[in-house]
């Protein structure tokens, strides 16, 4: 699952965006109501979930997207550092969920410039330069390579 945006039009509400994603993954709406409640609670959006996504701040949209994407157990999930958006309480919850995801044998591909974040969740590192992989090694080596060649 590679997703950095909702699949729905920004004119549609958060509920509709979540429903579309749920249908995409599950193919039906069985169990959607508890899933939605969990997403609303995790993202902390409350009643704002009923408003069009176009009115959300970047942080709200990122929180909702993260909550939806990690609400399922995917075989592989690609994320960028955007999930760090939101208050410290949300960040704590998000990091906990990431660990649960990895413990559940999911493969996480994370794009980030933050050493700290990468060290928390990743073992292997890929460094890209102009769309090409220039280093593929364990995370420590890849980070060293990145910092050496950054200039």
């Amino acid at each position: 699952m590679i997703q950095k945006s909702f699949i729905t039009s920004p004119e549609l509400s958060g509920v509709q965006a979540v429903k579309a994603h749920y249908l995409l993954v599950r193919g039906n709406l069985k169990g959607f109501r508890p899933f939605l409640e969990e997403v609303v609670s995790f993202s902390g959006l409350g009643d704002f979930i009923h408003l069009p996504v176009k009115g959300y701040s970047e942080g709200m949209a990122a929180r909702l997207l993260f909550s939806v994407l990690t609400g399922f157990q995917h075989e592989c999930l690609a994320l960028d550092e955007g999930f760090g958006a939101g208050d410290s309480q949300f960040q704590g919850r998000a990091q906990e969920r990431m660990r649960e995801f990895i413990d559940g044998a999911g493969t996480l591909i994370m794009a980030s410039h933050s050493d700290e974040l990468l060290r928390q969740f990743c073992q292997r590192g890929l460094v890209f330069d102009q769309g090409r992989i220039v280093c593929d090694a364990d995370l420590g080596t890849a980070l060293d390579f990145y910092h050496e060649h950054r200039a």
Binding site: Q3, S5, I7, Q16, A20, L23, L24, P52
Partner: protein, 261 residues
């Protein structure tokens, strides 16, 4: 690399999603209106009534009731066809964010747009047919008995032609300017406001007009209970070829789309 078969299989698997997102868009469009999606049919009826009164007088039609039904069926089909074609050139542009940030096949967004236009079409079509059936009751029976194949042709045509236009529109931006002009010309050249006989020695232009070949057989089936089978089957063949071409073009263009839009 996905094959055409994979694309169709994925589209089928996600059918509930693109139908749902299209329905949600239709609902959002009429949110907080009193008449809701009734507006779709009502706006068509309004233009049919006005154009029939004006052009019925201009062309001095002898049978006004016949002309209203003729114009009504033609116009409701034309409106849906032209709306789906005119929105096509910038369809991918509208979905830039989705196309660059998700790994969904772009066919998903083509199907979503198609569903949106189908829902709009059916809501207008049924209301217009209901009203026109008071003028000529036979059209409902003819639609049910003979109209389904021309209707199928219309629905498939509304899928593949806008798909080709949107893929070409992503690469050749001139289409944004060209499509409205071509649509206007096709409208004026198609026997929609006037009878085909009025074209006189230019009657051949209707035979080579693909949009008229969608509208004409459907109108003929509904109004006169006559299925122009050779034309309908020829159009079915064109639709099948068009669909394959559109899907092949999508496969070819897919890797370049994020860089073009």
């Amino acid at each position: 690399m996905n094959t055409v078969r994979d694309t169709i299989r994925d589209a089928w698997k996600s059918r509930r999603v693109w139908w749902f997102t299209a329905t949600a868009r239709t609902r959002a469009r009429f949110a907080r209106t009193m008449l809701g999606s009734f507006w779709l049919g009502f706006s068509n009826l309004l233009s049919i009534g006005t154009l029939a009164a004006v052009y019925g007088t201009v062309f001095k039609v002898s049978d006004f009731r016949h002309y209203v039904v003729y114009l009504g069926i033609s116009l409701v089909i034309w409106n849906s066809l032209s709306a789906s074609i005119s929105s096509a050139p910038n369809l991918l542009e509208h979905n830039t964010n989705h196309l660059k940030n998700t790994n969904l096949n772009p066919f998903f967004y083509v199907l979503e747009e198609w569903s949106f236009h189908l829902q709009t079409f059916f809501q207008s079509f049924f209301l217009v047919i209901l009203v026109l059936s008071f003028v000529k009751g036979q059209i409902v029976i003819n639609l049910l008995t003979l109209g389904w194949l021309p209707l199928f042709n219309l629905l498939v045509f509304m899928l593949w032609l806008p798909m080709v236009v949107c893929l070409l529109g992503a690469r050749y931006r001139d289409l944004y300017q060209l499509v409205p002009i071509v649509l206007q010309l096709v409208f004026l050249l198609s026997p929609i406001l006037y009878y085909r006989e009025s074209l006189g020695r230019f009657g051949w232009s209707a035979d080579w007009n693909p949009i008229y070949q969608i509208i004409g057989p459907m109108r003929e089936a509904m109004m006169h209970g006559h299925l122009e089978l050779h034309k309908v089957l020829a159009m079915l063949f064109v639709n099948l070829v068009g669909m394959v071409v559109a899907l092949k073009l999508l496969q070819r263009e897919r890797p370049y789309l994020p860089f073009l839009i």
